[in-house]
Amino acid sequence: MANKTSNWVSASEVGRAESCPHHLELKYAGAEVSQKAAAARSRGDVAHDQFNTEIKAAARDSRCFIASQVYGLNDPRTDALRVWRDEVLMPNTLGRLLVRVYYASSPFVVNACRRISILDRACRSLLDLFRCALNIGERS
């Protein structure tokens, strides 16, 4: 899309324009890319892949939400609660504060739920009640 003739500009070109506009002039003129640069690009791609793998692995480890524990990670009720979080809580200050408290407390609650079955049942009941009161998602 972002070729020589179109008006579209890519983020990497913006970075290049800041670094050295002459680089872009040579590129658009069809100058040959050095083998060394091509190799460096490949190394960069590999490093990016490693980085992406790392952050995805870290994200999986941090999935510690009570709803995921109670209903399951991909349950429609969990998804409905996520949507409610993003659409209702995140846009306002109090909502964001509540989300922060939830993030801070959820790992502890989830661990406790895994060990104490009565707490797991209590969480489920409370979440059901909460969803029902606010009409979030469908009850099973």
Binding site: W8, V14, A17, H23, K27, H48, A58, A59, S62
Partner: protein, 182 residues
């Protein structure tokens, strides 16, 4: 099912519910007296990973208003909005060009519904975060001179050379450049 009928259904164990509420209150107090456990991911952002670049198979975001495109390396939903991450595998620090690139990618992502309000640029030795203007037009103003430069060069203008030792040494067009420093 409404709230009353749900309560009448007697599904909530009163004692366990009370215990849970007590536990939640204790945790809330604990939260206010203890720093949140942030930074448990490679970029040190306290939030949920909501988007990640999977390489060539991931399409960039397109902002049709400003005709710019790009994709951050990752995006996190934080308590204050969305943080877009730009990762550079080099050992040296963050450059202005990295920040400009990240701003452009963030503006592109905004057009497709991600309310990016912060960029985080990470290299192997440095991490820099920059707060973004609230409005898209204000954000575009910050990269507009660069976008204009690119369009001018495409139309035949000369691109100013900014020679620098390390930069020129690693440049893909080093052999074709008469302005190189190294």
């Amino acid at each position: 099912m409404n709230l009353n009928s749900f309560l009448n259904a007697n599904t909530l164990d009163e004692y366990s519910g009370l215990a849970f509420l007590l536990l939640l209150a204790v945790l809330a107090i604990r939260y206010f007296f203890r720093k949140s456990t942030s930074g448990n991911n490679p970029v040190g952002i306290d939030g949920d990973l909501i988007w990640v670049d999977e390489g060539k198979k991931t399409e960039p975001f397109f902002n049709r208003t400003f005709e710019i495109l790009g994709k951050p390396d990752a995006m996190y939903l934080t308590s204050s909005g969305v943080s877009a991450v730009e990762y550079k595998s080099r050992k040296s620090g963050v450059l202005d060009s990295d920040i400009a690139q990240a701003k452009c990618a963030a503006l592109a992502a905004r057009a497709e519904g991600y309310k990016v309000n912060e960029i985080v640029v990470v290299t192997r030795s440095e991490r820099k975060s920059v707060a973004l203007p609230r409005s898209d037009s204000d954000l575009f103003k910050e990269i507009r001179p660069l976008v204009k430069t690119i369009r001018d060069i495409r139309r035949g203008s000369k691109g100013e050379a900014k020679p620098n030792g390390g930069k020129c040494f690693n440049c893909a067009y080093r052999s074709s450049c008469n302005n190189r420093a190294a």
